[in-house]
Structures are given as C-alpha cells and as structure tokens.
Symmetry: C2
Subunit: 353 residues, 2 copies
DNA sequence: TTGTAGGCGTTATCAA
DNA sequence: TTGATAACGCCTACAA
C-alpha cells in the first residue's frame, strides 16, 4: 500500500505527522537552536522514515540564496579543462555550494541560453569557460545581478572578473625554448586573430623572436580556422616552403599532433628534421609518438582561482585584478636541435616525464 | 543612475511599469491567448528593456515542473562518455528540457548527494551514468518520485530503467576475433567481479572461448583493481607466465594502452609477439602506437536511448524493457596472427580507420 | 520552547 | 480582454 501522497511530501505533512507546527519542523531541519532535544529527535526520525526531501525551490524562493553555482562549460569531450572543473567542484564543495554544469559548445546562442537559464534559476554565481560572449559580460551590466567569472574568454572583454593562463608568456616560453635549441627559422600554426588566445600566443611567439634578434617572417605563420582542425594543412604549407622552418610552434596540442602526423607522412622525421611543440598538455600529448613537447597551463590553479574569486564576489567581498596564471614548459621528444650544421643546443626549461 | 532595485525585478514591477495586472503580464510572458496585441507589445517591450528574467524558482514552485533533467556524471576527465552527454543534451534540448550536470566521481557518497540535490530541486528526471548506487534505485522505491534512468550501472540492480552496452557480446566479439586470428592462448586483464561490467566482459570472454572449444584457463585471467590502473602489472604477470598468452583482451582501452606499453618495455613487439585488444574506443586508442584494436560502444545511441526513455517516464508513458546497445569491433594495428607456427589468420570483423 | 502569519515570485482559477 | 486572489512549500519575525 504505497502512501497516497501522489504529491511530494511537504513540511506541513511532516508537521502533522509529528504533531508540531511547521516552524518547529523548519527549525529542526535547519538545525536552528531553541528546540527541545526530544522534539528534534522525533521530527528527524519521522522525516527520515518518510524519506522527506525539502524543496530547494521553495526554500530558495524565500531565502533568495540557492547555494548553486552555474558552470557554463565548453564540451564534455574536451580534455583540456577537465581538471578545471574538478578543482572548481572541489573548492565549491568545501564552501558549501553545489555546481551545476551546462555545456555551451562554444556557440553564442547556446552560451546565451545557458547563462540565461542559470539566471532564471537564480544561481548564486556563474563561471563560464572559454566564453564566446565575453564582450557581453562587461562590468556595468554585471554589476547588478549575478556575479560572473570568466575563464579563458575567447574574445576581448572589459569584464573585471577574468582568469586565464598567461598565453603570451606561454608562447614565449615555447618559442624561446626552440631558439635555445638552436632553431632560427621557426614556424607557427595558429588561430584566426579574432580569437583572443590565438592573438596572445602569436604575440608571445613574436616577442620571443624579437628578444632573440630574429626577424618575424609572416610567411612562416599559418593561421588555421579552428582549434581542432588545420594542423595537417598548416604543417603541409610550412614544409612546402622553399625554405621550410626547422621547428614549429602550434596553437595547441591537437593541432600539433595533427602536424606531427602530416610531417611524418611527408617523409620528415620528428624531431630530427623538424621539431614540433604544442600547447595545453592534454592527456594525448604524452601518448603520441614521439611524445609531444608542449606548454602546460596549470588548469587546476585556473579552476581554483576562478572558484575563489567567485566566492569572493558572492560574499560581497571585492576581489583583485584579473588573474593570469603562469605556464610551464614541458619538454618531451618532439623537439630537438635543428638538422644540419647544428646550433648550440643548450638544455633548458623544465622536464616533465 | 542605476535602477535602485537591489532586489531582482519581479513580475509585479513589470506590471506596475506597464500599468497592467500581474496576471496579464504572466499571460504575455507565457504567450497565452486572450491578451490584446497592443498590451502584449507593450509588456514585451518593457520586459526586454528592463532586462527582466522570470524566476524559474517561483514558476516551478507553482507549476511543479522544472523542465530540467539532472545528469549525474562520472568525471569530466573521462573521455568515454563525452558523446553520451552530447547526445543526451541534444535529445533533451529538442524536447524542451535543460540538462544540469553534476559529477559523482564514482563515489557512493557523492552520488547520493548528487541525486539528493537533484531531488530537492525537483528536476523532472534524472540520468545517472556508471552509477555505483544502482542497487538503491530499485523499482518500488523509484515508483513514487522522480524517474531515474541508469546508464551502465556499476552494480547489479533490479531497477527497471537501465541502458547499457551489451558487454557480454562485446567481450565475445573481441575474444572470438582473436580466436579467428589464430590465437589459442588468450589472456584477459579484467576488473574485480564486484563491478558489473567486469563480470560481463569476463563472461563474454569465457563464452567465446567455450564456443571455440578452448578451455578456460584461470591462470590467464588477471583481475586488476580499478578501471584506470593495473594494465601494466596485468600484462607483466601474463607475460611472465611459463606459457604466456599470445593475445590479451583488456577490460578497457586505458588498461590496454598501459598493457601495450608494458609489453614493449618487456621487449615484446605488438602485435608480432603479442596481440592486444581493448574496449571502449576512446580517442586515445587511434593515437597510440600501434593503434589500438578495440570494441566500440555506440555511446551516442546509449545517450539517446536513455534520454528518450527518460522522456517517456516523465510524460507518464510506460517504456519497454531494459536496453542493451550493440557493440562493434574495431580492428586496428595492435592485433595480428600469433607468432611462430602461424594459425589460420582469417580476416573478419569491421574495419574502422 | 513552540505556534501564527506574512511573504518570496509565479501561475491558475474565477469573476468582472 | 483583464484583474483579484488563492495556492506552491518554505522561512522568519513576532506572539504566545
């Protein structure tokens, strides 16, 4: 004989069952003081037995707090930020918040929908990863309303609350590492300049060249179309040059791995004929042959910083300036000294197995 | 001069601004009939200008519908089910539902918390991937309350609403493929038997051996501890046997890739000395050297079926029996005929590049 | 220590 | 075509 509450059980039912008032039940449930131990016991017992779950809806409607933070994410298939999510959940968990995640697939419309949904559910705060809509979250608009923190926005924005890896520095690291290995002609397979990370990494690449007194040669730069495709054609174009580069810095690991493969199918050996370095240090990077040298972003830190910043905003504390997390060079096997009359291959950077 | 509504804007404010009643505004917002075009226009304009977002909380409290489905997920870092999520979101999106995702990291406590949270938010339905708590979702308990669909539960359960790949069949495919290649001593690196998928795949392995008239040899079976670790030691133990197997079927690709590596460090060539086949077809599989043969689950179908089943349950339609989605053999380069006096290597199965 | 009542922002049911 | 008004389930003064 199943309980005839077709409707879910409420605090009223509970009160009736326990023979007390709703306020008493409420006090018990939120373990407030001023309630006798025995009543507390009894109510708790009955609640447990009845399998009662309070309605977060009703509760949040009155308290105006949901203890939920919305996480607008990229795709589940993207390895890159898995650790970001984990560390966000970690921090939020400790702070007593739940994280609800929703993918935006880096499409403007979906991102807008995701944020709008979070808003309508009155989450206490929002984190958006690789936002396409970054520009829409400018400070004044966001001042009133739900705090939003951006991780690695894809567009320029004057939004105050942004956490990102220092892409300029990272690209600089990668490039100057190649230079240290003795390379003088260094190519770059990048992203169209409308993407902020694309611009930043190109910039770091240029700065490194300049710092080494090397001329920036536009013919050595191929700007692909997406962060997922274009590594093969990019490498192909570079290697087909009259004077091809002896090393190539790719926008990310995915492109780099494709580039690696194309180099091989074109009969070049990596790193003997051409060095390749990527960016991100995705899981794949250490599995490919040869294992890919790359630049690692401290994704855990990225997530943690974002979470902490959001917590500050939620609590009404003001937080510091936008944060740039440092990157780290990861030397593996896809990079080496240039072929032919060798340069002066000095070892350098950080080795991570 | 920013609007002095520290509190978010409500339907009342809107009504005041538009000079109509809340009910009219409500009608407009839900585009119900029986409201004059001009009032509609006006209200809409004002709402847009004010940047009004209705409170889903209040709305759902009265309608008793959230149009949200909760997705209890494994980890963001797990490649395996990325496609599952995508297809779930796809189906749900078309059906007018939002998907909120929350990771349970395959820990009982967290899974319980996740489901409880979803319950308290009165989501319309729940999907749990690789549930550890499967047994707790038995039919009677779930009858009243929010419908739950399980994808690939880790434990046995009498819950009615379960979608999973046919692991027995998949393991059978893998094993009989190795047999067709001519192998007679086939090892298995598996999972402890408390994991349902572990049992199923072991079972498929046994059945395939039996069907081919090969004896099941327990010494050729190594049961590791987790789905992530143990591939190396497993392979090591098998290859250290007096009469090592000429082929090994691993519980999943992660283990297989580790096994691959260990085989190499032990001086065995793959597939010349020993064949290795995995399970899942994660992205990594086609990148390792040699590219890993494996069994693919139709993850998109998994997600779609689960989503559709949940929609049925939400709508009160009864749905069919638990579903087992078929698997597909993927031949790559880590498998070949056994060494030495060759068997009769017949080609077979499906080739996927 | 406990109970009463008002309100959170919407929708839904009646009247008007 | 519109407008009061009673829920929805809970929290929180304020009273008792």
């Amino acid at each position: 004989m199943k309980p005839k509450w077709r409707r879910r059980m409420t605090i009223n039912n509970l009160a009736d069952l326990a023979g007390v008032s709703v306020s008493t039940v409420s006090r018990v449930l939120n373990n407030k003081p001023d309630v006798s131990p025995e009543t507390r016991e009894r109510v708790l017992a009955i609640a447990a037995e009845a399998g009662y779950t309070p309605s977060a809806l009703a509760r949040s409607l009155v308290t105006q707090r949901t203890h939920i933070v919305g996480l607008g994410a990229r795709t589940s298939s993207d390895q890159w930020w898995a650790e970001v999510v984990t560390s966000i959940e970690q921090v939020m968990h400790e702070a007593g918040f739940k994280v609800f995640l929703s993918n935006h697939y880096m499409e403007a419309a979906r991102e807008r929908a995701v944020v709008e949904t979070f808003r309508s559910w009155q989450v206490d705060g929002i984190i958006v990863v690789t936002s396409v809509l970054a520009a829409e979250y400018s400070a004044p608009r966001v001042q009133r309303g739900i705090p939003i923190v951006l991780i690695h926005p894809l567009r320029e924005t004057d939004h105050h609350y942004v956490i990102q890896a220092d892409d300029v520095q990272g690209a600089h690291q990668a490039t100057s590492y190649l230079i240290r290995l003795g390379h003088r002609r260094i190519g770059h397979v990048g992203l169209p300049s409308e993407y902020l990370p694309g611009r930043d990494r190109l910039e770091g690449y240029r700065q490194a060249l300049e710092a080494a007194g090397l001329a920036y040669d536009p013919s050595l730069v191929v700007l692909g179309s997406s962060p997922e495709k274009g590594g093969e054609t990019g490498m192909e174009r570079l290697l087909s040059l009259p004077k091809p580069p002896t090393a190539v810095f790719c926008f990310n690991d995915l492109l780099a791995i494709d580039a690696l493969r194309r180099a091989r199918t074109m009969g070049r050996r990596v790193p003997d004929d051409v060095s390749v370095i990527g960016y991100d240090d995705i899981a794949l990077a250490r599995y490919v042959e040869p294992a890919l040298s790359t630049v690692r972003q401290d994704t855990a830190a990225l997530g943690r910083r974002a979470a902490l910043m959001l917590l500050d905003l939620i609590a009404g504390r003001e937080t510091g300036a936008p944060i740039r997390v440092e990157t780290q060079l990861v030397e593996r096997e896809s990079t080496g000294p240039p072929p032919g009359p060798a340069g002066t291959p000095k070892k350098g950077g950080t080795i991570v197995p």
